[in-house]
Structures are given as C-alpha cells and as structure tokens.
Amino acid sequence: MNYNWDWGVFFKSTGIGSEIYLDWFVTGLGWTIAIALTGWLIALALGSLLGVMRTVPNRWISGIATCYVEVFRNVPLLVQLFLWYFLVPDLLPEPLEMWFKQDLSPATSAFISVVVCLGLFTAARVCEQVRTGIQALPKGQLAAGYALGFRLPQIYRDVLLPQAFRIIIPPLTSEFLNIFKNSSVASLIGLMELLAQTKQTAEFSANLFEAFTLATLIYFTLNMSLMLLMRLVEKKVAVPGLISVGGK
C-alpha cells in the first residue's frame, strides 16, 4: 500500500479560518456528547415510565407500553431517524413545520430530530430493562408495601424502583454506551458530530487512516470512561449485604 502517513495532520490548518483539524474533532465530540446525553435523558425518563406501565395490574396501561416497545424496537434505527427528520416535519401543523424547516438552523433541526429519534428508540430498550428489574423482585415486596398501607405509586417509588434500578445498572450501562455509539447516525442527516467531522477530515486532508484511527480512539476512550464511571455509581449505591458488585 502506498500511503503517506502523517500523524501531525491534526495540528495542520484546515484552510478554513484559523481552525486546525483537531478543532473539528473537538466540535464533533461536543455534538456527540450533547446528542447522547440529551437522548439519554429522554430515554431514561420515558423508558422508566413505560417500564412501570408494563408491570402495573391494568391491561390497557401495560398494553400501551407493550405496543410502544414492539414498534420502536422492531424498526431499524436509521429508518426511524429518516422518518423523524424527513417525514414527521411535513406532518406538523403549518406554523410548526415552517419554524422547524426555516427558522431553525440546519444543525438545530437535525439535532432535535436525532435526539428525539435516539431518545424514543432507546426508551423502548430501557423500558424492557426496567420491567425485568421490577419483575425480578420477590412478589412479596409488593404485598409488604400494600400490607403497610402504601398506595401503588408509593410502592413503586419507595420500594420497587429503588431496588429495580440497582439490579439493572449493568444492562442500563450498556444501553447508555449504545446511545453514544448510535449517536453517529446523526452524521447521515448532516449534523457535524464526531463521525461526520472524521469523514470531513479524511476528505479534506486525504489522511483517511489517521482520521479514523483518532475517531476510533475517541469513541473507545469515551465509552471506557463511561463504563468505569457507571461501575463507580454501582458501587456507590450497592446495598450492604445484598447485591454483589463487579464480581466481588
């Protein structure tokens, strides 16, 4: 292979203003983190609500949550993104459609689409984990809550969810990492997050290998740090004498 390696490329000028290529990666990483964290907030809030809904003793409520999960889990993420970005805005009421398409900057409207898309997609997966967490608890916990005079919402808040969330921290961590990785789909609707900046660097500088190596390292380091962070959280909330943490 005849390839001109140049690891110094990141510090070279892009030819646009005073920017160097590394600046592009920093901006891209910023977008990636913003997309993932905002999407995660939506996923965690909505997913927890849906997970609770799936376990309540009411067929209609649990049915709605089940339908949600089946729809969002069985349609490819990219298809969902294109629906949210290209189709849904056309279905909005006229003023809202104009606002989305004309008043917002292209980056902002792409950001909104991808955050909604990732949030709702991941919510279906969080929902299933919350549901399993709740169902893994002994039936007697619910009975004990009732026997003490609690109402159902109180039992969820004070008895079931604090335990369920502790149980599902490991799978929830992988979902949290997934949303960072999945955020790269944003590059396909023109949002300049990490992957898009990498592609742009590769095209501008012709240093394809360096650009993608750096991107790989950034994704890897980011997710490794998040995993370690979540492990600390898991240790922090571990219940003495109950759940073993990190293989201990």
């Binding site: 002994p138 007697g140 916990q141 009975a143 004990a144 009732y146 026997a147 003490l148 005079g149 609690f150 109402r151 109180q154 004070d158 008895v159 604090p162 335990q163 502790r166 219940v239 003495p240 004498g241 109950l242």
Partner: protein, 244 residues
C-alpha cells in the same frame, strides 16, 4: 375484631376457599393450620385484602372489606402482617424499614417514627442492629425486625403468615418468643403456622383447614384434647405432624 363471613374465592374455575366463616375476638389468638394447599395462607391474606375474594365478606374492626367504598390502604395500615419470607425492604436500613410507613402512611414526624421504631427494635432485642441493612441480618433477626415494623403502625390486629417456615430450626424459637410475648400482652393475633407447640402455649382457638374449607374451629383444649374426636382429615394431619 375480625369477622369472616362465608368467604368464597376462585382462581379462574378453581375454588380455593369455600364458605369460610369464623370470628376472631379482641385479644384472642387464633392459630390456623392445615396441609399445604388447604387455603390457609390465602384466607389470612383475604383479611387485609391482599387477596381479593368473590363472595362473602370480612369485617375488620367494623370495616367491611367487600364494601367498594372502603379505603383499603387505610384499613391495611391498621392490620399488621408478617410474611413467611420477611419482606423487609432490602435497600433500606433497619431504622428506615421501621419508620418509612409510619412517616409516609401515618404522617408521623421522622423523630417520632424513629423513637417508636427503635423502642420496638429494642423490644425484639435488636437495638444494636438499627444502622444495618436487612441483608446483614440472619433470617430470625429479619423476621423479628419485620414484626417490629408491623407493630410500629400500632395495629389493632396482627396477621402471621407462616412466620417461621422459612427459618433455620435454630432461629424458630427467637421468633416464637416474640410472638408469645405479644400474645401475652393481649394482642389480637391470627397465625398461620405449623408450630403446634406455639399453638398449645398461647392459642385460644385452633382452626384446621383442608381443601379450602374450615374443617375444625374449636378451643385449643378441645383441639388437642381428644384427637379421636377430630375429623378424619385433622386426625391424619395431627398424626403426621405430632409424631416426632
């Protein structure tokens, strides 16, 4: 205190309780026994409406459970229940286990609830474990905490659903001792248990159930007095559990 009137309960087509009727008077200790699957746990869970029933009624301290307008959470907060598997809240400390319902259901202040909880913890002999979590205690200790947790609500009656069945043999007595003490203090108690020694010591009446029916319901002296006067099914049961 508890009046069970012709209670019938079905799981689908299967009838688990058939025409169960009995009374538990204030201060009375009633032991419910019978083979597994006889419906005794189901019956006791009907008393605080943890299990719904389709026909009949149960009146607890003047409140009807079958009445649609009854505030069930309020009723349950006045009926203490102790479970076979303790069901302490594992993510909360012992103190929090004792106070959470006092604070959130009865509206007591944290200070008042803690004082009450710790006094009861001392009564069941576990004061030094207040800061621990349930997972750090033995089964017998957890069950004593569970009894204290129920008592903290100032119940008018206590229900025990096989409180010693999940315990190592060595730990059975520490739990029974607490229950005997409670009975001697005049607490109204309904206990599903196979501990016939306990029944002999403190029960006023013994109920024997089989196949969802109350087969025997008589004073303790009568129940243990002349085994040959018992129903055939009760005789079989007693012969098996009193043999050793």
């Amino acid at each position: 205190m508890i009046s069970i009137q012709n209670v019938n309960k079905w799981y689908g087509d299967f009838q688990v309780l058939t025409d169960c009727s009995t009374e538990v008077k204030k201060g009375e200790v009633v032991v419910v026994c019978g083979p597994s699957g006889s419906g005794k746990s189901t019956l006791i869970k009907c008393v605080n409406a943890l299990e719904p029933f389709q026909k009949g009624d149960i009146v607890v301290d003047g409140t009807s459970i079958a009445d649609k307008n009854t505030n069930l959470p309020k009723l349950r907060s006045r009926v203490g229940m102790v479970f076979q598997h303790f069901e302490l809240f594992p993510h909360l400390s012992i103190t929090e286990n004792l106070t959470i319902a006092q604070i959130k259901v009865l509206g007591r202040s944290k200070a008042e609830a803690t004082e009450k909880g710790l006094a009861l913890l001392e009564r069941v002999g576990l004061k030094e474990h207040a800061h621990k979590h349930p997972g750090q205690l033995s089964g017998g200790q957890q069950q004593r905490v569970a009894i204290a947790r129920a008592l903290a609500m100032d119940p008018v009656v206590m229900l025990f659903d096989e409180p010693t069945s999940a315990l190592d043999p060595e730990m059975v007595n520490e739990v029974l001792d607490v229950m005997v003490q409670l009975a001697n203090e005049g607490m109204t108690m309904m206990c599903v248990t196979h501990e016939m020694g306990f029944a002999r010591k403190v029960a006023d009446r013994v109920i024997f159930m089989d196949a969802g029916r109350i087969v025997e319901d008589c004073p303790k002296e009568e129940f243990f007095g002349d085994i040959n006067a018992r129903s055939e099914r009760a005789q079989q049961f007693l012969n098996k559990i009193l043999q050793h």
